[in-house]
Assembly symmetry: D2
């Protein structure tokens, strides 16, 4: 189980490097009978791709998805569904000068330690470009969820200390920060522009939610829904913290505050009157909204000179060329949604085995 796969019953295996032929994903376990909306997959990839705004790397890639298998007459067949996204604009020459140097904050040294050598072009397999394959697979998962009345939304909650004050989900796609607070979005954009001028980068927080999730998803003990979400989210490059529901604030709360009282909803179903739990109790979904927050570090690739060492350990100064994002947040939004979608579909299929 060497790491390029995720999921149990809806299981994806991805491949590809930043500067190779492209990125790909095989979905093993896509249920049969889904009328696949190819345009919707492409739309998710378009939300993730570079070059969509000045928030993102200037590398221009259309990231066109091609379905290679697993559909017949427009529907998924239940067999392996493979997709391909070709690389078209890799500029490997940016990396020739620094191939013996270890970029701070990147996997260069760790990969050398692991494998004995590495594909240094754009980070090779460690490049965040691999998330394109996840987004493609996640877009299929979202379509499955949609048939079940489950929807997902994510947005930039804060950039550094600048935090959205209102959550108007209709505003998310109206600004290049994908911030649900349009006024705060303006401040964020100005802050990113300043950071770029400073040859620097910025971290922040993305919040992702799922609605319409039935109670009962997740497995006891080790495959709790929060554990699977934690696994999924920490697998995204740059993520350094994951919170569920009240998250970090749960550490400051008392039990009498943090417990969510159970209530009967108008439709007769059982819910809770608050949602500090973020929709998960004892590792199993409660039917309340799933709420997850990811803290992303500032991108490691910055245009200013940094001290480092080369492969022999000799001190050196490095200037990382290439075309990089000053913040990952707007592009993290669709990736976070994709990962949550993948976890939920997997849990839904698993739940079908729970009872006689």
């Amino acid at each position: 189980m060497p790491g390029n796969s995720f999921g149990r019953l809806f299981r994806i295996s991805t491949w590809g490097e930043s500067h190779g032929v492209g990125l790909g994903v095989v979905i093993d376990g896509c249920p049969a009978g889904l009328e696949l909306d190819l345009a919707a997959i492409q739309a998710q990839l378009d939300r993730r791709r570079v070059g969509q705004s000045r928030m993102t790397s200037a590398r221009r890639e259309p990231d066109e998805v091609e379905i290679l298998s697993g559909i017949f007459e427009g529907r998924t067949t239940g067999t392996a569904l493979a997709m391909l996204i070709r690389n078209t604009n890799a500029r490997s020459s940016d990396y020739d000068a620094i191939k013996h140097l270890y970029r701070p904050g990147h996997a260069d040294h760790s990969y050398d330690a692991k494998y004995g050598f590495r594909d240094y072009r754009g980070g090779g397999r460690s490049s965040a470009r691999e998330t394109a394959a996840r987004v493609a697979a996640g877009a299929v998962a979202r379509q499955i969820l949609a048939t079940m009345g489950i929807s997902l939304v994510a947005y930039t909650l804060s950039l550094g200390q600048i935090k959205a004050q209102i959550i108007d989900e209709n505003e998310i796609e109206n600004n290049i920060m994908r911030c649900p607070d349009p006024d705060v979005a303006e401040q964020m954009i100005a802050y990113v522009d300043q950071a770029r001028r400073d040859l620097d980068s910025l971290g922040g927080v993305v919040e992702v939610k799922a609605r319409g999730v039935p109670a009962g998803l997740g497995e006891p003990v080790f495959d709790k829904l929060d554990a699977l979400i934690g696994h999924a989210m920490f697998s995204i490059p740059a993520v350094k913290a994951v919170e569920i529901g009240s998250g970090i604030e749960a550490g400051n709360a008392r039990g009498s505050q943090n417990n969510d009282p159970f209530i009967q909803r108008a439709d007769g179903s059982i819910g809770t009157s608050s949602n500090h739990a973020g929709g998960i109790l004892g590792g199993i979904s409660s039917s309340e909204e799933i709420v997850v927050r990811l803290t992303a570090k500032p991108p490691a690739s910055i245009a200013q000179a940094q001290t480092t060492v080369d492969q022999a350990g000799e001190p050196a100064t490095i200037v990382v060329k290439g075309r990089h994002d000053p913040t990952v947040l707007p592009r993290l939004v669709p990736v976070a949604e994709a990962m949550l979608a993948l976890v939920l579909v997997d849990c839904i299929l698993q739940q079908r085995a729970a009872r006689l």
Copy 2:
């Protein structure tokens, strides 16, 4: 893969309920040839068990571990290693009166939704008592790590807003909060005593570290070391946030601050001069200290009356009897160490397959 197992090559499967025969674990993949120190396993269980101090539940269980298989003449044989910890002091009658009520903050409703019914005695399988089996398995993992020069430490970093100001690891086991700052420990203890008098409970943060971890552990993309740690830590009951390295603070940092410059150490090896990454770069260990923080919610079982509903959705008031911890932090310490140990051993074995 229905949730009661964890790990790939060092794989544990646990079983047991709070009020059943006991708790058990099977380790599949324990390498052959380890001279197993049974007393060291028991010592870890003693750190986790109830009744060790007034910080913990008054339930008294010796939690004696029994090895059922997998050793011969004192050494692990490489075949399945099974361990058993019997329940001796379950008081199921505490739960009779509330078996139709959903305890706020607990898995009762979620389990009913998942399985159609539940073992209501002490939470059944959802009880945190299952972590005894993890600690037993983790104690075996620690012994393997020790043979490789890898050590683990965890401690209570903060209780609510009360935070350790100094980290003196020698002090951890000297106070019942397992806080590395003895003065702050006193404040914490007083705060817990107050919360108990208030019939309430408290959350907080545990920090866990591993030292001596070689560079190269973790797998690309989905089984990054941080992803496996995230999975492991969110599988622990009560955990609502997980941070790696600078964690939440990474969201406030600039790349020029957050990047850790590479340096050559005195012994010629390559490290970094700071460790915001928490010992993991690109999902692969860097040879710096692994640093993880867990935020635990306040225990859901509080002695004051709470509003809830019964299984039919009818409003009710519940008073949860039983013998409960006012905070999980001191007992979370050995569980967090155990989970990190399990992840590291698994990654070490996996790493043996990385190169031709």
Copy 3:
């Protein structure tokens, strides 16, 4: 994934050695809500245990099964179901004299090569005694299958060249060979008695069938139903050949003979007028009877002197003491049924994920 587990959604993990505390199994993924019939589990263990007739080892073990977890008020809870069968009659002294010698036909040398040493008492983990744990788990699986109208049967088809001429399933449990042909059973028993007098042992064939299996079980490509069955059956000690349907005879057939014509059954469902396929087409069940045959080698433990070497490679003569079966066939019958039951339940749960 180091070998002590089997299955995907109905996943068993077993542990234990021939001369240790006992044998155990954890079922992860047993669906909730099964009214578990403990006596039926014990009945299967009684069919497998030693000492039931002169066909089997003289070791006497009651093989009483104890449920350790996973049931509440008589029903499976959906959480890990653990069972224990204690060893009560191990006679380890039989093995002291030969602990440095490699028993021909046994795993002694292979285990030393794998692990560096071995538990030599009764073969340790490599003992066929481990099949007791499989039979216990398989008995749970059978109860699940029974709720779905699926039944299993196995019998001794041939002992050496002596083959059942009629298949009267009512006769199977009426003779100690579990042969469905009572006259042939007598010949088989005489032949075994002769082999025992010759200090020798005998091989043969067991046939196992499942009825009522719906069409659609098994997964494409690598987890075909026949592949899972092949895996399951070859994991049973002593099995050297596995056949599905016409099996070996398919090699002598022409396509026009071997193809099974599709027909419509009286109830409107679709079946085939012959069943050379053994109920599996393209790796997926067809709704015809599943038919599998296992060839078991003669038991390796024979009472006559054999030439071998010791651990240092020095030539030696070995006389294997202990109490051994002259043929495994009657005890293989319940084990083969158990393994087929485990595969089928797993496929049934997996099939629930096949369609949107």
Copy 4:
């Protein structure tokens, strides 16, 4: 785990249909540092492809393999290695007329039962064309084995009742039956020609061996080397029986005949003086030659009219057009080698975790 993947540490996931874009495979866990010989991969595909002789389907496909990821400067990087083989000569119109009919001996009905519908063109995912992806992955595995001194060979042992009398491995590739006995090969070819004239097809047996396999491979209990081989071989289309070592003949043997006496070899290592076990004892490799035999049924697609039913169950007569092999044996040879290579590499990597 829905079936399109195989292996644990050297894990392949395949995708593709007979009449789609092509076939592909992702290898997750290919060790880093292998100097990949692309021509050697192509050579294996050439041995498997159609149109290489009159033994095989007249469909002409070059089956050119393209590496999509996982290599850098000629060496494997340790990350996901993806390969693609395009379909170039699919003739889907052959299948339009029979899309509502169930071809005898094929998966048509089973797939409908499983998924609700199917890609009827050439059998879709159930087509044996998927074995191209296995052969590509197996060719990578063979290169890994070659670095360890392990070699593989397979050949047609018998076609119907016509059996090779001598095993001259140098002759295998000298005749279109891949039979190691050149005289018998001539008889086989004549027999196939006759069957083709009869609009019929033929079954037979392929034997596959591995040499240089160290002792110690395979895991106890459920992942015995023979169990993994059984899984692998039964996953190949048309295989109806698998034998290890003496196989079916073990059923006729006595223990005193079937046991292989241990000896010390000239080089000091321990082996056996006979090899009825086929190189596997107690599920673990013994260092003797691994010997496996596969019985393949006659291909289900025959040119003569057959009785069947349509999807509604109505009786019908079917004539299967398309371009089909009168026997699979010569093309099964490289597929069997590939599957054995995949199992062995996986076990070698797994074995690295066996000891402290």
